[in-house]
Symmetry: C2
């Protein structure tokens, strides 16, 4: 498999290491909505060749909360969490769009990690980057009220999708933000009454982007 | 400086790497309450030889929230966050008890990190361990009510201090848990009315440990 374009550290690996990675990586196609990794599975390291993934946690009552998204060229480290014994938490990874992945088996990656300082440092950077995402999230939850978080999330989604008309349900928004559907519906109706959005079935349209931005900040 | 006993990876470093670390490490004594690292400072890697540190975040309004504690033989990685460009968040580190530290300058550590797979893998494990602490915390905040979190925190403090009589103020508890003092006071008074704790000036005494444990679970 052609991994060189997806692993920035490729050129600093030995020939044998490159061959072990390329020879053991498997291509996998996943459909939107498919669960790629559930809890403590050790699926292997996932490279996103195309598409979009969502990593989330689940409350004992089944409530979801998105902790980060993975886009083209991102690497999902926690799907190979068995590599690092200090990782003591479970995230679920779901395809948010139809996606193409390269899966590198955890044992192959771990063996090279142990001998290669460049690959290990690259892994450090990936983890630090996800850690930063989660720290940002914790600050949002702790210090920001739900109206600001929802406004910021709608703007982020519009940027990702490249449109102000979002095809999404109140339930899906609740799953991203860790809140029940009813709470989302109440806030969206308030946004609508303020002229910030227009609601219709399965759709949220941003009509006052500047107003939403003022609210989010 | 004698670092061999504190860095489990010591025996897998080269002689030159060991000498660079030991020759550049500086011993530092800090008093209880002293801020060791503020925001984005790059103080260097801190090794706790003796004592106890607290890492916390600060809201725009000045509210504090403890994200993890560091005890003897723990390493504070984020005090050398400039080593990893992907770390995009600030934590403040404060001495919670009089402490003895070894400080390894960030540039010295980073240089060895880049060439040593063992040190890099060790750093990965440290980061994964702190990441797990923060994921645990996020789940607590998201899915657990404040009474359960406060009960769990009192039990944890009692375990750390080895006594059921905690010398602490409501304000300090609030700083650990990210809540205003008044919220803590109200909940502690409720705990007292339920016979779980006894309150006096600067002190919280756990009188019904089993009851507090039932509440926390």
């Amino acid at each position: 498999m052609e991994l060189a374009a997806y692993l920035p550290v490729w050129g600093r690996l030995t020939r044998a290491q490159q061959e072990a990675l390329a020879g053991n990586a498997v291509r996998r196609s996943v459909k939107k909505g498919e669960i790629i990794r559930n809890g403590a599975d050790c699926t292997g390291l996932l490279l996103v060749l195309e598409g979009q993934l969502r990593a989330y946690i689940l409350s004992p009552e089944g409530r979801e909360m998105t902790i980060y998204r993975l886009f083209e060229r991102d690497v999902c480290l926690f799907s190979a969490s068995c590599m690092l014994r200090s990782i003591q938490f479970d995230v679920i990874v779901e395809a948010e769009k139809d996606s193409e992945l390269a899966v590198i088996p955890a044992d192959v990656y771990k063996r090279i990690l142990e001998e290669s300082a460049p690959l290990s440092n690259y892994t450090n950077e990936m983890m630090a980057s996800r850690f930063s995402d989660v720290m940002w999230l914790i600050e949002q939850i702790l210090w920001k009220s739900f109206d600001k978080r929802l406004a910021a999330f709608l703007l982020e989604e519009a940027a990702i999708e490249g449109t102000n008309t979002l095809q999404t349900t109140h339930e899906t928004l609740g799953k991203h933000l860790g809140n029940p559907r009813e709470v989302v519906t109440r806030m969206l109706r308030y946004f609508q009454s303020e002229g910030l959005v227009r609601l219709s079935r399965g759709r949220v349209e941003i009509v006052d982007e500047a107003g939403l931005r003022r609210l989010a900040e």
